[in-house]
């Protein structure tokens, strides 16, 4: 058994995860599941589905830790991208689209208002994005949280691709300044 540490630096974490340490994987989960859960919930919008995706994301982290390259960025950035990609894939999957259609029908009938969607605006990264100006917010919403390419966004919003590109970059700089403490 390893000595139970209360804090690991990133190099130790990655090294011990590659040695298949359950102890350290548990530590990783305890420290990062909340942050990843938040971004997943931002994207998929449903609590129960977000829990499923979170489990799937940690399985990927566990099984793909050997492909993590520390020279390219932080471990958290790598995990965050896994979480974002898994969430967008889930939202785009056929079963999710079907269930969303059903739910929207139900909500129309009972007029309960899409409360779960507004609620996920108020947590995590998405809450910060929603503090930006509308023209920037829309672009980050579509590209980051919904995963559309700039080409797709250009067509959806009928804005020239060059404008989408410039405006999105300005939006990201503003986002950077918002999250920089």
């Amino acid at each position: 058994m390893e000595v139970v540490k209360t804090k690991y630096n990133e190099t130790e974490l990655v090294s011990l995860l590659r040695q298949r340490s359950q102890q350290v994987f548990s530590y990783l989960y305890d420290n990062y599941s909340g942050a990843l859960h938040s971004i997943i919930l931002n994207i998929v919008g449903e609590e129960e589905l977000a829990n499923d995706v979170l489990q799937e994301v940690f399985v990927k982290i566990w099984r793909q830790i050997d492909s993590y390259d520390s020279s390219k960025g932080r471990l958290f950035t790598w995990m965050l991208n896994i979480a974002r990609n898994a969430s967008i894939d889930t939202v785009r999957s056929k079963s999710f689209q079907n269930s969303r259609q059903n739910r929207e029908l139900t909500e129309d009938v009972y007029a309960s208002g899409g409360s779960s969607e507004t609620r996920t605006d108020q947590i995590g990264l998405r809450k910060l994005v929603h503090g930006l100006k509308e023209e920037y917010k829309v672009l980050i919403e579509l590209s980051y949280f919904q995963g559309y390419t700039q080409d797709e966004i250009s067509k959806m919003l009928s804005i020239p691709l060059g404008t989408v590109k410039t405006r999105l970059r300005t939006a990201l700089i503003q986002l950077r300044d918002v999250i920089k403490p």
Binding site: M1, S33, G73, R74, R84, I123
Partner: protein, 264 residues
């Protein structure tokens, strides 16, 4: 190239958030090697993104972690898996084993108690037997000594050169009797108290030899078995016994004479 403008272009944030195109990513990875400022900017944005995400964390329900670890149970390092196996088997079978172990323990403990008590009583009996055996040996020894004394006494009594002098009572209404055996060769004197009243605690019987009409001390009679060996008396005409104070007297107390017998 204007590095400052590049850093402020938003391409770094786009890349970190996974939204950069392949060409943008390739350019950034090439530039970060050449320009440490770009590297620093990437790292700074990653750090603040992580801080922000951790600050905005929402806790998933506990069952998610349980399901995750159940799903990956076979993929953890072996020695940790082994410690898990040790804690796992708390099923019915283990409960039966535990119950059986407790029952056996109770049976074993009560048998220990039973056999300990048996051992204690056997040990006590053994000690008693040891004491009895020791005393039997002592008694047996005493008896052997007495038997040997009696044998020697009989040998002497049947010896023709040993004179037998019976001493009869001299007191009215008493039937006292004692016998002196006198070895005519060695002149040793032996006394057998055939029938004498027991002497009081502070008194003792004393044997006298009558030599030329005068009494000569021939020794004190002890509680001897069989024959008591007395003093050597070269010649005497008679023997008598008086009751004297313990340790004997120089001259006999005549009114305390019990028995007397003449030689020849």
């Amino acid at each position: 190239m204007d590095i400052r403008a590049y850093i402020e272009s938003g391409v770094i944030e786009s890349w970190v958030l996974g939204m950069a195109s392949a060409e943008e990513a390739a350019e950034l990875e090439r530039l970060r090697v050449l320009h440490p400022e770009i590297n620093q900017a990437i790292d700074a944005f990653e750090a603040s993104l992580e801080r922000t995400a951790l600050a905005g964390a929402t806790q998933p329900p506990v069952y998610v972690k349980q399901e995750l670890f159940t799903q990956l149970a076979g993929e953890f390092k072996q020695e940790e898996a082994r410690t898990r196996v040790v804690t796992m088997p708390a099923g019915r079978f283990a409960k039966y084993i535990a119950a059986a172990a407790i029952i056996l323990l109770v049976i074993s403990a009560s048998m220990n108690l039973y056999f300990y008590n048996r051992f204690q009583s056997a040990n006590t009996a053994y000690q008693a037997l040891l004491v009895e055996k020791t005393s039997l040996i002592a008694t047996n020894h005493d008896i052997q000594v007495k038997a040997l004394d009696m044998y020697q006494s009989m040998q002497m009594m049947s010896d023709p050169s040993v004179a037998k002098i019976p001493m009869v009572t001299v007191r009215a209404n008493e039937n006292n009797l004692a016998t002196v055996f006198w070895d005519t060769r060695t002149k040793d004197v032996y006394l057998m108290p055939n029938k004498m009243p027991p002497a009081p605690g502070d008194k003792q019987y004393q044997l006298w030899a009558i030599v030329d009409g005068k009494p000569v001390d021939a020794g004190m009679m002890d509680a001897c078995t069989g024959l008591c060996k007395m003093k050597n008396i070269p010649r005497a005409s008679a023997f008598a016994i008086t009751l004297e104070k313990r340790g004997g007297s120089a001259t006999p107390t005549m009114d305390q004479m019990y028995v007397m017998g003449k030689v020849g």
